[in-house]
């Protein structure tokens, strides 16, 4: 164990890893600030830059984008009333009114401090819990794993999107697309349609780039842009107290930040909820528990702090199920899982035995990302106004070219580029018919694992399906699946979910 910590530490303190973390965080903040782009798209289009890197620098780069992107999303919410990410929608409620009062810098600084606070808090939770969870997961056999994946997929499918049925359908579509390529048990080819490149199934990278980047470009390209100027004009107050966060103001928000970080860390570790839910829950709790509750929504600094610490606390805790169980809880972690797999690392309990150095390196990277974010955030305030005004006709053509180059670079194959555009069209149609993309992506990633675990279990039992009810853990997960389905259906009918 100590050897792994030392090895992880030496990989972590390598200047190149630092450089990757710094550049990833910077890229994440910039892309997060640009309206219309978010951390998911940022990771999807920038993964190709890590192809030739070692796993830890690659992860440092991608985690930097994740942490920076979540914060960056709040900048455009505060400055121009347009949340860069869904998670930043709660920040907008008090951030934009502050901005209109000329206190944009104060709001941005509080958002930055709260983001750093939330992220640090969740990294502590990650370090404390993940190892224990992974050691429990080591005792899982194929039936337990299959039941766990089924539970996660059902909850994610049922929770995301407007309707339970469309969420589940999206998940099943992802599972179906995952069956393309060789059979996981006997290797028989499936759905190759005589196309040689399809013999190995769809590659995850072109698929995620298409679904999350090209579809967004098409959505934006069809919209009529009548004016390129943002409707909001930024004004900054000359008073020094309007441009900084005093210790008193920070102390007043500290209670909310602790509570919101705990909420964010809890929500992040659960499948299917994500940072948007965490931010709104945190904001709601802060509004209810504050002495200043009447002014929430009119420009209260505590509101910004609660929303930001809540949504950033998801970053670390969302890595708990990803690293310990190989189950991504939301879209960004699904994309991160895809990126890890491209680097030959499969998260899960075995990662804690075979690549413990990388796990420790990831912990250290995430912990340092808070400091890097603070540093970059404080230095880049001046440029945020400029970035939010970046016109779409500059951003989106470049995004398409990056998508092309990234998809091509995976295998030097134009087939992957065509696949990317194909999934881009599918993603566009999904957005149009309000069909959730998250379950499709997560099911596509977990599909092969689910099938192989189920079939291994059935091979062990010689085709007897009762193997799934002979294991108490598997039964526990199946009961959890039914209970959560019941509550989700009930909540959706009542309009609470």
């Amino acid at each position: 164990m100590y050897a792994d910590i030392v090895s992880g530490f030496f990989q972590f303190i390598h200047p190149f890893t630092f450089f990757c973390l710094f550049s990833g965080t910077l890229a994440g903040v910039i892309i997060g600030v640009l309206p219309g782009l978010g951390p998911t798209m940022a990771i999807a289009i920038l993964v190709p830059l890590t192809f030739n890197m070692m796993p830890l620098p690659a992860m440092a780069f991608l985690l930097g984008i994740y942490v920076g992107g979540i914060f960056g999303g709040s900048v455009s919410a505060i400055l121009i009333n347009t949340p860069g990410t869904p998670a930043a929608a709660a920040t907008l409620l008090d951030g934009y009114p502050l901005s209109r009062q000329g206190k944009a810098k104060k709001a941005l600084k509080m958002a930055l401090y709260a983001s750093v606070f939330g992220n640090t808090f969740s990294v502590c939770i990650l370090v404390l819990i993940t190892g224990t969870l992974a050691s429990i997961a080591l005792k899982f056999g194929p039936p337990e794993y299959a039941a766990l994946i089924l539970f996660s997929l059902t909850v994610i499918g049922a929770l995301t999107g407007k309707s339970l049925v469309t969420g589940l359908l999206s998940g099943f579509l992802g599972l179906f697309l995952a069956t393309f390529g060789p059979d996981p048990v006997d290797g028989s080819p499936r759905f190759s349609f005589g196309i040689m490149e399809l013999g190995d199934g769809f590659n995850i990278l072109p698929m995620m780039i298409g679904l999350f980047a090209i579809s967004e470009v098409l959505m934006k390209a069809e919209k009529k842009i009548t004016s390129f100027k943002n409707s909001a004009t930024l004004s900054f107050s000359d008073k020094p107290e309007d441009n900084r966060v005093s210790w008193k103001e920070f102390k007043e928000s500290l209670r909310s930040m602790f509570r919101s970080s705990a909420i964010g860390a809890f929500v992040g570790a659960l499948p299917g909820l994500g940072s948007g839910t965490a931010a709104f829950l945190s904001y709601g709790f802060a509004a209810r528990g504050s002495k200043n509750r009447k002014n929430f929504g009119k420009g209260v600094l505590e509101g910004v702090a609660a929303a930001e610490s809540g949504n950033n606390a998801v970053c670390g805790s969302a890595m708990i199920p990803l690293l310990a169980l190989s189950i991504p809880g939301d879209l960004v972690t699904a994309v991160l899982l895809g990126a890890l797999m491209i680097h030959g690392l499969t998260p899960g309990p075995l990662l804690f035995q075979t690549h413990m150095d990388v796990v420790y390196g990831i912990y250290m990277t995430l912990a340092l990302s808070s400091i890097v974010l603070l540093f970059i955030g404080l230095l880049s305030f001046k440029f945020f106004g400029f970035l939010t005004k970046m016109p779409r006709y500059v951003i989106f053509p470049i995004v398409v070219v990056l998508c092309f180059a990234g998809s091509y670079g995976l295998k030097n194959s134009l087939f992957d580029v065509y696949c990317m555009f194909f999934f881009g069209l599918i993603g566009y149609i999904m957005l149009k018919v309000e069909f959730p993309q998250v379950p499709l992506m997560i099911a596509f990633i977990l599909g092969p694992m689910l099938e192989s675990q189920m079939r291994q279990a059935l091979l062990i039992s010689r085709g007897d399906y009762s193997i799934f009810i002979h294991s108490p853990i598997a039964v526990g997960f199946l009961i959890l699946t039914f209970i959560s389905m019941f509550f989700i259906v009930y909540g959706k009918r009542k309009g609470k979910l």
């Binding site: 830059l49 842009i225 006709y393 070219v401 059935l458």
Partner: protein
């Protein structure tokens, strides 16, 4: 200011989506799975390579039928609405975007990454609203050069050079 476009505003989405999934599942169950998934080893001890796809398609068909029923119900209960006028230019813009991306990939094989990327950036940025030609050309040249340099020299991923070596 951005104008939102909704092509499906006057159409029963649930019904159409459900119908699509029912047809898609039937197509798979009766054509693609028997045709594209050979069962090489037949065992009596558990599922074969077709079991999982068949199970998924049946589940999709079941959920698709639910959507069709829900959509039909919604259609019955819905008050007749005025037809939503969809702006023709939005459709054209979308169509042109898709076609230009497709042509971009297609021409890369022959013209190479640099030439086709320059042409695509110039066309696409103009289509999205870049009004000044000279600026659009400079933007296209600079962006192409930067992306090419990053991929080819910095991270050493070769990009297609086309038949003329560009």
């Amino acid at each position: 200011m951005v104008v939102e476009v909704d092509y499906f505003g006057s159409m029963p989405r649930q019904f159409l989506t459900g119908m699509f999934f029912v047809c898609f599942s039937l197509l798979n169950l009766f054509w693609f799975i028997p045709d594209q998934v050979p069962v090489l080893v037949i065992t009596d001890t558990g599922p074969t390579p077709v079991t999982f796809p068949i199970f998924i398609c049946m589940a999709m068909m079941f959920l698709g039928i639910i959507l069709v029923v829900l959509g039909a119900k919604e259609l019955k209960e819905r008050q007749p609405k005025k037809a939503v006028a969809i702006e023709q230019t939005s459709r054209i813009r979308l169509f042109v975007s898709i076609v230009s991306m497709f042509i971009y990939v297609l021409t890369t094989e022959y013209l190479g990454f640099r030439v086709s990327t320059f042409l695509f950036l110039l066309f696409f940025s103009r289509m999205l609203g870049y009004q000044k030609y000279l600026q659009a050309i400079s933007f296209s040249v600079l962006s192409t050069a930067c992306i090419y340099a990053v991929f080819t020299y910095l991270i050493q991923i070769p990009l297609p050079r086309g038949v003329i070596g560009w």
